[in-house]
Symmetry: C2
Subunit: 223 residues, 2 copies
């Protein structure tokens, strides 16, 4: 495994999956150029981007090994090619638990509340703002209840153990989204504490949506 | 990494994510006992199962290293502890592509058409049969269009390269679900060919829902 060459991250400031990859890149200390695609304007479906990435989604990471897609696959690649500091623990059972906690977010929560799904709920099913908020709250709440139990069992300061991991790459963006949608968080104290502990790390903080070049008013924020 | 001990798979015959794990276990040649949880009766939310698996989902795999959850995390564990035959290729970029193709199913398609989501669409949003079928067709069709392009680029007989991989563990169940819901497949010839090639392998065929002990009429089927 060789370290990745020059990296270009195709992302969008408020994309939760892009936020995950930024956290991983920052924890690894890898420099990267950002190319923003405005999802609200449908830029991810522009022909030149589709030619590069037929999925028409962000994030995608251009490397000297080609274009990588899907946030978890990208993060596993970074962990294999640039193993220090590791984002997965050593033992197979521990690695499975970390991957399961990440999947509980990436497979069971996030896909149900991203922009394209919420758009369809409104446009094709006529779900109004209230119905969409109930939908969001239900799936985030169900997933967070499961994660709360897993973090109580496996967390020691961070969501898994006592150091940043793949779980944090997924958890910090998911908590950001939950707050953005006004989801009640009183039932998930261990989850919130672990996520805030991770979010306080300067490398994680630098990946925050508000600090990306394409964020509204980003230039006005302190560096 | 040590080979896993006695294995107990908590599953349900028609669960797509359980089907993935059965395929992986069979490809690896690992024996396992099955404990079925009838999702239609809500058995996955019974207190004794929730005590074992707070996520209240299937599949879960009981191993001598503890209970593993989330199909992709389980399959990665099996690949690490029982590496022959491998379900991931060797190079980091190839591994990232296989994981991305699997995630295109596991994160972008499957979560939108599983039983609990379709239930909510009907119960809370009043979506009728026609609206639910349109929803299913839209998300499977969108995801399959992306996968078709990836398989055309990376497949050589199978979905990735010329041997069974993690992609097939996800693709075969997803095609089964697409057919079950009557999704039009004319636009995805490379995908269908790759999936049928994989499904023809006896180890993959043995994982089919209709051949599980809890399937209706399973006892009447030829072995």
């Amino acid at each position: 495994m060789t370290a990745p060459g020059p990296l270009i991250l195709h992302d969008y400031w408020r994309s939760g999956a892009s936020y995950r990859v930024r956290i991983a890149l920052n924890i690894k200390g890898l420099a990267y150029e950002q190319v923003a695609h405005d999802l609200r304007a449908g830029a991810q479906r522009a022909p030149d981007y589709l030619a590069l990435n037929p999925q028409g989604l962000v994030p995608a990471l251009a490397t000297d090994g080609g274009l990588l897609t899907q946030s978890l696959a990208i993060i596993e690649y970074l962990d294999e090619t640039c193993p220090d500091p590791p984002l997965l623990p050593e033992g197979a059972a521990d690695r499975a638990m970390v991957r399961a906690m990440a999947a509980a977010i990436a497979c069971d929560i996030h896909p149900l509340q991203n922009a394209r799904v919420l758009g369809w709920l409104g446009d094709a099913l006529g779900a109004d703002e209230v119905a969409r908020k109930r939908w969001i709250g239900h799936w985030i709440g169900t997933g967070f209840a499961a994660l709360e139990a897993m973090i109580r069992q496996h967390g020691r300061g961070f969501a898994f153990g006592s150091r940043l991991s793949l779980v944090d790459c997924c958890l910090v963006p998911q908590l950001y989204t939950a707050r953005r949608f006004g989801v009640a968080l009183e039932g998930f104290p261990a989850l919130v504490e672990a996520a805030e502990n991770a979010a306080g790390d300067p490398r994680v903080a630098a990946a925050h949506p508000d600090r990306q070049p394409d964020a509204p008013g980003a230039a006005a924020l302190p560096a």
